[in-house]
Symmetry: C2
Subunit: 353 residues, 2 copies
């Protein structure tokens, strides 16, 4: 046992040392901005000043805006920007420093010369949410039954849904998620107010608009947002150069016209391991099957869609949070190689026209 | 008129060009992490799966954690880190790209070799909030009257409280806030759930803990969080090397022992212009007076506190959002010079001991 773990420690220590020795990060431009957003007129002036200033009539608020934070490396203009959108009960923290302190995909992609844009979903984190219904219930003008569900993932739920192990607190033997740092993941899990959103989800609209603003972008979604790139492309495909969908249920009832639209966009779908190995939670095999069907539909419509099932490629033990798993940079390399082959080559062609 | 505006345009264009020509940003290390956070056991398992997975018992969530995003420049270890904490109804977006697209204080301080840490207040943005009371009201186990106030700043309220002009839509003649881009500020304004927090505010505790973790830091607060650096220092002063408090009401009933604690920490208070010039909103003169009194109390206790009233220094037209005003980098230079003189000199002394 000692020898076995001794090797493991050495390998990990070597990896950590390699990361510490990484060169300083050079950024050509960084910043943040919003996409979308519309004015909502509040129905009545509040009784209390409530930040409006006394004597001021009623008030307008802005809703449905999407906060975006970006970094562009010096050679960024040679590559198609990548937009990363997090999943349920999470924020853009998803893509940053991992729970055990390693480099996240956001920085790694920048170090690989990609402009990276992190978007907080509308109604989450720095994008804010529309609070008017909560205050209306509090004021008694709306019944409590109209309160939206505030989705919060518990530790126990995350352990199961994110596939850290067969039962709560017990990790899979080959688990890639850094379970010793799982408490740091739990801190990332924040309330999800997507149930307050109109249809279509403003995040889809804003992702499509962001891709246009960037004059072409690859949209990446995960879990709750895994199919958002497709939804964005169905609203406006003109800016969407590529789609990366990670671990989610796929729609399989799209129309022929919708499939035609998606078939014009290179699409990568990625799934990790242990899909059917969690006791009492069996949604993942169904999601996987739906995405295999979706990939086939897109390809049958003349598209370029690929299902990357990690265990089928010999990469074992990946959790649902594969961008935070111990082999997260290996997986990033797979995605970067896919982008180079399926999106960037076409991008160059288009530029050359 | 044409000539006048022609000059203005030239000056602005020159400034924008200068910014575009700025050298690439070099980052020694960047990332994000959480400070604080504790486990809360939810009282009963929800009826719906609700992200917990069917068959799983109840659930725990993490609350009161504080999300922190940081960048350390190559020479960062020569300077005391600066922690920036935003105000009411805002997030760390406050310190980033300004509404009209100029550089924010976060990047400017990094370019001036300072390690910068942006903290989203507990219960806001990427720090999340405790949603259990909302779901309890929805489930009918708690009456609607127990719903917390969700503070949302309206456009009209922000215009008045942030002092963009005497009445809504009309700017002061010398207004420094980029009012043509005010819609972009409105998108930054997100619901404030501080009313759900326990006392003492976990953000104070986490700010003090962050200063200790960083082996010394300057804490900067603004508006709602303007006095948070002092509150953090009163909980644990051991990591707090300096305090920068921007535009807030100050406590004037501190005990002699509390003033003794604060008197050991160099403190800068900064206020902008037009404090009494907004029709129907007269809180600012009172806040200014309370802070003048506080500064005197700290100095009377042997401290090093300074009130920087910008109009008294001949710098006119600054709004409440002075980190976003057109002269924001000039104000940053004032703060950096104050840090160099009042904090860093002492820092060097301490290191030399």
């Amino acid at each position: 046992m000692k020898t076995r773990y001794g090797i493991l420690v050495l390998v990990l220590a070597g990896s950590a040392a390699a990361q510490k020795q990484s060169k300083p990060l050079v950024i050509e431009e960084q910043g943040s901005f919003f996409v979308g957003g519309e004015t909502k007129v509040l129905p009545a002036p509040p009784a209390a000043p409530n930040g409006r200033g006394p004597g001021l009539p009623g008030g307008d608020i802005t809703v449905n805006q999407m906060y975006v934070q970006y970094q562009i490396p010096p050679n960024g203009n040679r590559h198609v920007p990548v937009v990363m959108v997090h999943g349920c009960c999470l924020s853009s923290k998803t893509w940053e420093t991992t729970p055990d302190g390693r480099m996240g995909w956001n920085e790694y992609f920048v170090r690989k010369d990609r402009p990276v844009y992190l978007a907080d979903q509308v109604s989450r984190a720095r994008s804010g949410f529309d609070p008017s219904v909560f205050n209306a219930v509090r004021a008694g003008t709306v019944p409590p039954s109209q309160l939206p569900t505030v989705l919060d993932a518990s530790h126990q739920g995350a352990w199961a849904v994110f596939r850290f192990g067969p039962t709560y607190g017990k990790a899979f033997r080959d688990e890639q998620f850094p379970v010793s740092a799982v408490d740091e993941l739990y801190k990332q899990m924040i309330p999800d107010l997507n149930s307050t959103l109109p249809n279509p989800n403003p995040t889809w609209i804003n992702m499509a608009a962001l891709a246009v603003k960037l004059k072409g972008a690859i949209l990446m979604g995960h879990s709750e947002s895994g199919f958002f790139p497709e939804q964005a492309a169905l609203i406006d495909p003109s800016g969407v150069r590529g789609i990366i969908s990670i671990e989610m249920p796929c729609a399989t009832t799209l129309t022929a016209a919708q499939l035609q639209t998606l078939a014009k966009i290179p699409t990568l779908v990625m799934f990790g391991d242990h899909l059917g190995d969690v006791q009492g939670f069996n949604n993942w095999p169904t999601s996987f099957d739906s995405c295999n069907a979706f990939v086939k539909q897109v390809n049958d419509a003349g598209g370029d869609a690929e299902m990357m099932s990690l265990p089928k490629m010999g990469i074992k033990g990946n959790s649902h949070m594969l961008m935070q798993d111990k082999n997260n940079l290996q997986l990033a390399d797979l995605i970067l190689a896919w982008i180079d082959k399926h999106v960037e080559d076409k991008h160059v062609e288009k530029k050359g026209r």
